[in-house]
Structures are given as C-alpha cells and as structure tokens.
C-alpha cells in the first residue's frame, strides 16, 4: 500500500499552515519530513493518519493494506502516549482488545513484540518506572502489535537524551532492515533525517511548502560507513534550513 498526498493545503482560523503539498510515499521507504518550528509538520502527519482533515486536497491510500494489518496507519508519538495506569503489556494489549484479540492470542502477540523491542523483562513494569528510551520502545512495541502498513512517527526521539536517541536510532534501522516497513518520519534533527530517510522532504517556514526533496541512495544499514557523504547531505540540508530556522525562532508566539 502506497500513500499519495494530493495537493494538500490547510488553514486554521484563516492562518495558512500548509500550502499545496503533493507527495508520494512508496511502500517500504522511510520518508523524512523536516522543516522549521510551526511549519505544519505535525499537522501534515495528522492528515496522513486520518486524525484531521485538510481544508483542501486529500490523502489517498493506493492499493489495499495487507490483510493481516489491524491498523494500517499507526502512530508513534513524541511524548510516547502510554497510559500511565497500565503496565507495559497492558499498554500493548489496549490496542488489541478492541479487535477482539484477548487471552492467549493477545499474550502471544504481546510476547512477540516485547521480545522484538528487547522489553521482555519489563512486561509488568509501569511507565513511570521506565526511562524515556524504554517508554518509546514500548510505544514501538505497541505499534508493531497491530501490524501496521505504514508507521507515522512525529519526532519520536526528540524527547530523549542524545545517547538514548543514538541507541534507538540503531534499533529503528535494525527493525527496518528486518521488516522493511513504510514510514513517515517527522523530525527537527537533520542527523536523524540523513540516518533514517530514503527521501528527505524539506518544508519551508509557515505556510509549509515543499522546498526540496533530497533522495539518499545509501542503504540504511551501510550509512554508518559513509559518514562523510552523510555529513555533506546534512550540511546541504542545514544550508536549506538555516535561515528559515532563524526566522522561525525569532517569531513571537501569539498567545
């Protein structure tokens, strides 16, 4: 199943937030979206997952999602969005219950996804006992449990410290190498974008327009070895972004 963003524009109460976004998200690729604060990245991701509707244009899914996918479009949130009153396994089972998967069937899935995210030992821990990195791993486990056709990630690592980020990025790469998932990955961090993205979409400052789409052809698993090339890509992206970022940073919020 591919996704196709068909000339999407949006405004909130008259303020234009996104303008004419036209984009393909092919199966099996990670598409990174970068752009300065407030340019509409999160909004765009909400459109893709059907949580909100754009003023103009639409998001199309091309082809049917795999039969066994319980929730084709699945989010991973920046703040993890775990239910603090449920244990790790309870948080995973939450998303299975509504599909009528309970008891042994659920246990099997939960066991599997916790193992894949190295959380087997923490099935009964409450979120408050976990470090940030572990919490995000739980969120990933929960997402894997519904066998998504496409992962929608909104700055999944930005609430983590840089060492944990480093570790989780490796996990995401490993996972992709094994499972070849499709993903839209919103981030502020150019380093993450060049480490994870097959395609990096650069948005301009609000109203967000597509400024450039940078393709990175190096296979994910080999990127550590091509540090120099990645540095160059990153420097190029920073060139594109620098002024926009400065301008966005100097804006007074209207509160």
């Amino acid at each position: 199943m591919d996704l196709h963003l068909d000339h999407i524009s949006h405004n909130y109460d008259g303020t234009a937030v996104l303008s004419d976004i036209h984009l393909d998200i092919p199966k099996g690729q990670i598409v990174c979206i970068i752009g300065p604060s407030g340019c509409g990245k999160s909004t765009l991701l909400r459109f893709i997952g059907g949580l909100e509707k754009p003023t103009e244009g639409q998001v199309l899914q091309v082809g049917n999602p795999p039969e066994d996918s319980l929730n084709p479009l699945t989010y991973i949130f920046q703040d993890f969005a775990l239910l603090p009153w449920r244990t790790v396994s309870g948080n995973v089972s939450l998303v299975l219950e509504d599909h009528g998967i309970k008891g042994n069937a659920a246990d099997a899935i939960i066991k599997d996804v916790l193992a894949r995210t190295k959380l087997s030992d923490f099935a009964d821990a409450l979120p408050k006992q976990l470090s940030g990195g572990m919490k995000q791993r739980v969120a990933i486990a929960r997402a894997l449990a519904v066998r998504p056709a496409c992962l929608l990630m909104d700055e999944p690592l930005s609430a983590l410290d840089s060492q944990t980020r480093e570790l989780l990025m490796d996990d995401l790469v490993d996972l992709w190498v094994r499972e070849n998932y499709t993903a839209v990955y919103v981030t502020h961090n150019l380093n993450e974008a060049v480490r994870l993205g097959h395609k990096v979409v650069v948005l301009s400052r609000r109203p967000g327009k597509i400024r450039e789409i940078v393709e990175i052809d190096i296979p994910l698993q080999d990127r550590q070895a091509h540090e120099h090339l990645l540095s160059e890509k990153q420097a190029h992206l920073w060139e594109l972004m620098r002024e926009e970022a400065m301008a966005a940073d100097q804006e007074l919020a209207h509160v």
């Binding site: 059907g50 949580l51 199309l60």
Partner: protein, 273 residues
C-alpha cells in the same frame, strides 16, 4: 475494497484514508446558557400557572420577581444588601488575610506546616452552624459574631489553597533565585508569592462562595437586616416567593464575585500560557 477510481485511474484500489479524529473537545457555546435558563424559567412559570406546580412547593418565578420588586420598592433591598455586603467584605477580608499568612507559613516552614495542616484538617469540616452557640458567647450577638462566622468560614479554605499554591511553585525557580544570591525575602516576594497567585485566586473563588453561603448562618444571630436574615424570615413565614427572591440574590452575588475574580485572573495572570 471500493473501486471508485479517482484521479489516478488504475486497477489498484485507491481511496482516501479513513477519518477517525475529532470529538472529545467540547467547544464554548455562549448562547446555550441563556437559552437553558430561559427554557427552565418558562417551564417553571408555565407549570405554576397551569397548576402543575403547587404554590406550596414552589412559587412561580413571576411571584418571586414581584417579591423582589416589592423588596426594592420598600427600600429594604439596599438596607439588606449593604448590611450583608459589609459583613461579607469584612469577614472575607480578614479571613483571607489570616489565611494567606498561615498558608504561606505552612508552605515554607516545616514546623508551621506540621502544626497548621492537621489543625486545619480537623477544624475545617466542622459545620459553622454547629458553632453558632459558641460564637454567640465568644463574640456576642453584634456584628462581631457575624463577621467571625464568615471569617472562620473563609480562613480554612484559604489556608489550604495558599499552602497548596506555595507547594506548587516551581522549585526550579526558587533554586534559580538562590543561585543568584537573592535574599530570602526577595525570593518569597518576587518568586513564591507571584508563583502561588493562580492558586490563591482560585482559592479566593472558593472562599468567596463559602462566605456567601455562610451569610445565612451568620445572620441567624440577631440580625435585623441582611439577605441571610431576609431569607430566614421568609423561610420562617413560609413565604416561598420571598425565599426564592432571596436565594436569587445570593446566587447573583455568587455570579458577580466569580465574574470579578475572573476579571482579576485575566489581568493578573496575563503571563500564564
């Protein structure tokens, strides 16, 4: 699944992603409240006129309105109101003053907290009407006992709100103040008090409501004038129209106070996100 081929007419199924957001965020709808009130009052009036609601049970709103107008015309409204307002303001002011002082102390000092908090917990739930006989003996039957009743009623919730507020002041800001060598008094004045202001204001909202509720209890003791005394007399005479009129005045006083505090919050807490 669906085969309506859109812009890209291929053999693969193409369809918009399903929408599943929205909801769970009630909007403001300013028009509803007046409508609800008007409907309720109309039903009530109609019910009374058609005899569905017996006049012993509830007078028609129009009768209550008449009682209110009578009260106004007799000139007593002003006398009742001013008597009650003086007691309210006096009791509330001193209760708040004391409450803030004790609350800040409980928020800052281990000993003060350990002493004040359990005392407040033990005394707060005592109904003030139960204490009226004591108040008469302690403060007499003049204005003092009425003011004391209201003072007593406002003191405790203020203490609780204020020490909660002080507790919730970001310790990071206090540490910042210390790291810049601010004096103890500067930290209290410039960081803790403004930081506790939101909690204090919402405490004032509660204490003011309690003060209004206690008017009736306070004016049980030898009050000739006052909205509470008016309500008591009405209840006593089974004059339901006057009772409802008096209760309406209390209710309006509550709304006014809440509006005033709302304005204050808007102005003083402009800095809040």
């Amino acid at each position: 699944m669906s085969d309506n081929s859109l812009t890209r007419s291929e053999t693969t199924a193409t369809q918009p992603v399903p929408y599943r957001g929205g909801g769970f965020s009630p909007k403001r709808a300013r028009w509803v409240a007046p409508v609800v009130f008007v409907i309720l009052i109309t039903i009530w009036e109609g019910g009374a006129r058609l005899g569905w609601i017996s006049p012993i049970i509830l007078p028609a709103p129009s009768e209550a309105l008449n009682a209110l107008i009578d009260l106004y015309n007799s000139g007593d409204l002003i006398r009742h109101l001013s008597a009650s307002l003086q007691r309210l303001v006096g009791g509330w002011f001193f209760g708040t003053l004391l409450g803030v002082a004790f609350g800040v102390a409980a928020g800052l000092f281990t000993l003060a907290r350990a002493g004040i908090v359990p005392l407040v917990a033990a005394i707060f739930p005592i109904p003030k009407i139960a204490l009226l006989p004591l108040f008469i003996i302690w403060f007499g039957i003049g204005e003092e006992s009425k003011i004391a009743t209201i003072l007593f009623g406002t003191f405790f919730p203020t203490v609780i709100a204020v020490y909660g507020g002080v507790d919730n002041v970001d310790r990071g800001l206090i540490r910042m103040g210390q790291s810049f060598n601010l004096s103890w008094w500067s930290i209290v004045r410039k960081i803790i008090l403004p930081g506790a202001l939101p909690a204090m204001l919402s405490g004032f909202r509660i204490s003011a409501s309690i003060a209004i509720i206690l008017l009736v209890a306070a004016e049980m003791i030898g009050a000739e004038y006052g909205i509470g005394a008016y309500i008591l007399l009405a209840g006593n005479l089974m004059a339901m129209d006057q009772l409802v009129a008096g209760v309406t005045i209390l209710s309006l006083m509550g709304l006014t106070v809440s509006w005033i505090i709302g304005r204050l919050e808007k102005i003083l807490l402009r800095w809040r996100v």
